[in-house]
């Protein structure tokens, strides 16, 4: 197996099949990609193209009784595919963090955010409660979340979706994982919150050097964030390229179609440039 020092996560020849009464049905096939330290890899595709299946197979969250996962997924050279669930639980959250589309469903409503935050930290480290809380507040401050103390005492339903998603990112970042998988992190949010969440992800990336797998169907999100892009269609990768190359010279017909059909604000002449 070839191993590259730069690459944090390697996915080689990933095939996922599901067993149905009619036989095996392929969900994704021939997925190959690698993630470098501090880079954001964008994963684009319409619904049903296998984006989420790919991310779930990295985390080994698919039901092994029903699914066949073939191929190799290595994190720092360690093979993840086929790992025992017990071992995998140590990796999830600590080495690979996951940010879901809907933050409202990702927290349990019966405990405070602080409780869940501290629980996550303590599961993966030897810190005591007080230190864990300190780390939580520290992380939240470093990602510019207002009033960390107050936030930790509140329940998930007391916060707005955008705020909760930002807390979720802080939680994902606090254990300094090497990879964050963000599955459509902004789809449920409005425009302003979307920008805040994306800025935060970018901040986490630049501060902690985390590699981010950013799954989205919004080409705006991809063009704003990604360094490299993978385009998926019908469970296959149809094109993978640097983000500039992809937007300037799309090669595959499907990518061209995506870029052509998206709604745009500006006629080609002069793009409206905005300042921050």
């Amino acid at each position: 197996m070839k191993s590259n020092e730069q690459n944090i996560l390697n996915v080689r020849d990933l095939h996922v099949q599901v067993r149905t009464p009619e036989g095996l049905s392929t969900l994704v096939q021939n997925i190959n990609f690698e993630m470098e330290k501090g880079k954001i890899l964008g994963l684009v595709g319409e619904s049903g193209s296998g984006k989420t299946i790919t991310s779930m197979s990295i985390l080994q969250l698919l039901d092994k009784k029903r699914m066949n996962i073939e191929g190799s997924i290595t994190l720092h050279g360690r093979e993840l595919n086929g790992l025992e669930n017990k071992e995998m639980r140590k990796i999830r959250g600590k080495d690979i963090a996951f940010i879901m589309q809907n933050p409202m469903n990702a927290f349990t409503p019966v405990f405070t955010i602080g409780h869940q935050f501290v629980e996550t930290i303590r599961t993966h480290s030897s810190l005591n409660k007080k230190q864990a809380k300190e780390l939580a507040i520290d992380t939240m401050q470093s990602v510019n979340l207002p009033n960390p103390d107050k936030l930790l005492k509140s329940y998930p339903f007391q916060l707005s979706g955008g705020m909760l998603q930002r807390v979720m990112i802080a939680m994902a970042a606090c254990l300094n994982p090497s990879v964050i998988i963000a599955d459509e992190p902004t789809t449920a949010l409005d425009l302003h919150n979307q920008l805040l969440v994306l800025r935060l992800l970018d901040k986490v990336r630049s501060r902690y050097g985390t590699s981010i797998l950013l799954i989205s169907h919004d080409l705006g999100v991809i063009s704003e964030m990604a360094d490299d892009v993978i385009v998926m269609q019908y469970g296959r990768i149809v094109e993978s390229a640097n983000v500039f190359d992809l937007f300037d010279h799309p090669e595959h017909e499907y990518t061209k179609k995506l870029l052509r059909t998206r709604p745009t604000l500006y006629s080609q002449k002069q793009p409206y440039t905005y300042m921050l």
Partner: protein
């Protein structure tokens, strides 16, 4: 005369705190006035919690405002007699964001679309079926989808069925409440295209409620910006949105994501040497 006129509508939700009797009323809409002309589309942009959907409900006649009037074809929809109200309901349709919760999971596509026809038009079974097939084909589905249930469709297909149901009675105005927001980009542009075609075919008017500025630009003729229950700006042409000096419009404009990586606003330089103080102890 405008097709729809909204005159100084205000609405607040009142609730009293249990036991303490403290008044917790919240102003959701504040003195909103605008009009939609026949055959045009008004795009209504706003962040979540701005009151967009509430305004949509007020226009549909579901939520009575405390002050102000909503005039549809000159009739006040909250003070009309039964017969007029029935007529208004026929000409005023809606398509919601969540296509699955907008249909009955135990009905086939045929029954879903036949409901408005049964209510308003006396058709024979064969005529009705013919109409439904026509509608299905118009929105890009086919005859073999007649007997399918909602769970057998994808989100985009189901949204097409919702649109077919909305246009079945050839209404005058359709309120599109975040109708394309939960769809992926390919489906989204297809649905927007379909809506544009239907608008020309049937001479429809739309109220397009969204937080997606790009989608609003693609379909609307006029634009309005709603923030905290107030209609802060109303534009006759879309270009005015870019020249506006209003701070909230400016903030919205700044939140539009770059269309090309060259124009991205996030350009943080990586410096991951200084990791968190405590995380070193892990």
């Amino acid at each position: 005369m405008s097709l729809l006129q909204v005159k100084q509508v205000s609405l607040s939700f009142n609730s009293k705190k249990l036991f303490k009797g403290k008044d917790l009323s919240k102003k959701v809409l504040n003195d909103i006035s605008f009009a939609i002309e026949e055959g045009t589309c008004l795009g209504l942009i706003g962040t979540s919690g701005a009151g967009k959907s509430t305004l949509g409900k007020v226009i549909l006649g579901i939520q009575r405002p405390q002050q102000g009037q909503v005039l549809f074809q000159g009739y006040d929809i909250y003070n009309a007699d039964k017969a007029t109200q029935q007529k208004i309901r026929r000409d005023l349709q809606v398509v919601f964001q969540d296509s699955y919760s907008a249909v009955n999971p135990r009905m086939t596509a045929e029954r879903i679309i036949s409901e408005p026809l049964e209510n308003y038009e006396k058709l024979t079974i064969t005529e009705q079926r013919k109409r439904i097939i026509e509608l299905l084909e118009r929105v890009g589905l086919s005859e073999k989808d007649l007997k399918k249930y909602p769970h057998q469709f994808s989100g985009g297909q189901l949204q097409r069925i919702n649109i077919a149901r909305a246009v079945a009675l050839k209404p005058k105005l359709i309120v599109l409440d975040e109708s394309v927001s939960s769809l992926d980009m390919v489906t989204q542009s297809l649905i927007l295209e379909l809506l544009n075609e239907l608008k020309d075919d049937f001479g429809l008017s739309y109220l397009f409620i969204t937080h997606d500025i790009k989608a609003a630009f693609l379909i609307s003729d006029t634009l309005g910006v709603l923030e905290k229950g107030e209609l802060i700006e109303l534009y006759d042409s879309k270009d005015q949105f870019f020249s506006s000096k209003h701070p909230i419009v400016k903030r919205l404009r700044d939140s539009i994501l770059a269309e090309h990586p060259r124009f991205r606003t996030l350009t943080t330089k990586a410096n991951w040497v200084n990791t968190n103080r405590l995380s070193k102890q892990l």
